[in-house]
Symmetry: C2
Subunit: 214 residues, 2 copies
C-alpha cells in the first residue's frame, strides 16, 4: 500500500490522470449548467488544458459527458456506503441513504444538478447508487420489510421520488432541506409497505455527519 491512496503507478500516470480529471470536472460544470453544446475548445479552456489533450482521453464530447455522469454517480455511491456503515436493517439502511441523498442538494449542488439535467435514464444507470439501492430493497423484500412485487419496481419508485425531492429543493432554495427530505423518505417508506408509525420513527432518527469523499 502506497502512502497516497489510489495513486497511479508512475508520475506520468498521475499527470495523465490529472489532465483527465480536469476535463471530466469541466464537463461536469457544463452538465450542471445544462449547457452541453459547448465546443471542445471551451471545455479545454475551462479545464485549463491544451486543446489537443482532449483527444488523448476522449474521442467525442458525448464520451466525456457520459463519463462525467458516471463519475458523479460513483461518488454518490461511495458517500452512501460511508453513510450506512454499521447499519443492519435494510429499511434503515435504505431510509438513511435516501435522507442523506436529499441533503446532497444543499451540500453538493453541482453533483445534484448533473443528475437533474441527465434525464430519466439516470434511473436505470447501473453505476453508483442504483445497484446499492437495488440490493437494499431486495434484502428488505426478502425479510418482509417491504411489500413490493420486486426490487426492480421498488428501485424505480424510490428513484423517481428522489429526483422529485431534489428538483423540489432545487426550485425552492429557502425550504428546510432536512425536513423535506425526511418527509419524502417517510412517505416513500409507506408506499414501499412500511407501517406509517414505523416509517415516521425511522425517518426521525438522528443522522450521522456527512462523510467526506476520499
Amino acid at each position: 500500500m502506497g502512502t497516497e491512496p489510489e495513486a497511479a503507478r508512475s508520475r506520468l500516470d498521475r499527470r495523465k490522470a490529472r489532465t483527465r480529471g480536469a476535463l471530466v470536472s469541466a464537463a461536469r460544470t457544463f452538465l450542471a449548467q445544462g449547457t452541453t453544446s459547448v465546443s471542445i475548445q471551451e471545455i479545454t479552456d475551462a479545464a485549463d488544458v491544451g486543446f489537443g489533450s482532449f483527444y488523448n482521453h476522449f474521442a467525442t464530447k458525448d464520451e466525456l459527458f457520459e463519463e462525467a455522469v458516471e463519475v458523479t454517480l460513483d461518488e454518490w455511491g461511495q458517500l452512501r456506503d460511508a453513510a450506512v456503515e454499521g447499519l443492519e436493517d435494510p429499511a434503515e439502511i435504505f431510509a438513511r441513504s435516501f435522507r442523506m441523498a436529499g441533503r446532497m442538494q444543499r451540500l453538493m449542488p453541482e453533483q445534484v444538478k448533473v443528475m437533474l439535467n441527465a434525464g430519466a435514464a439516470i434511473l436505470v444507470n447501473e453505476r453508483g447508487i442504483r445497484p446499492r439501492a437495488l440490493a437494499d430493497l431486495r434484502r428488505g423484500i426478502e425479510l418482509g420489510r417491504f411489500t413490493m412485487p420486486d426490487a426492480e419496481t421498488a428501485v424505480m419508485l424510490a428513484g423517481g421520488v428522489l429526483l422529485a425531492l431534489m428538483e423540489l429543493l432545487e426550485s425552492d432554495p429557502n425550504s428546510d432541506d432536512a425536513a423535506v427530505s425526511d418527509f419524502f423518505a417517510e412517505r416513500l417508506l409507506i408506499s414501499l409497505g412500511v407501517e406509517p408509525h414505523e416509517a415516521r420513527q425511522i425517518c426521525g432518527s438522528p443522522l450521522p455527519g456527512v462523510p467526506q469523499l476520499a
Copy 2:
C-alpha cells in the same frame, strides 16, 4: 364558429402554421431520440422545409426545442382533460389522470420519450399537466382526501413517481403497462394519504377508452 376548428384566419396564416408545425414535429422526433446536437439543416430537412424558413419562426435551436417540449406538455394536458370529464372526487380525478398517463408510454412513445429526455426540470414546467395536477391535489387536500402539507409538495411527489413509471415501462417493453401503472398509482395514492384499501379500489376501477387528440 368556422367549419374547421382552431383554423387560423387566412390561408397564409395556415400555411405559416403548417411550416412551424413541421419544424416543431421534427424537433420533437430529435428530442425523443435524445439527439439535440443536430444542425438546423438536419432539422429543416427532416421537416421537409427550406433551410431559411427556420429563421421565420425561431431565432435559435434552443427556442425550437423548448417549444417542442411545451407543445408536448400541452397535448398531454388536453388528453388529461378529456379523460377525467364527468368525475368529481379529486382523488378519483387524480388517479385517473395518473393511470392514463402511465398508459401513454405504449400509446404515444414519442411524447413520453420527450418527457424522459427533458430532465427533472420538466417537473416544474408550468405547461400542460402540472397546473392541472396541482389544482386536483389542492382540492383533494382541502377536502381531506390527501394528507399532504401542501399541493406543491404533492405534485412533485406525483411527478417523480410518474417519471419513474414511464422510465420503467420504457426500459421493460414487455411488461404489462396497465398493471404496472395501476400499481404505481395505488402506491402513490397511499403515500399521499389515501387509505390502502380505498387506494386499491380507486385504482382498480375501469378506465374509459383513450380519447383522441383534436
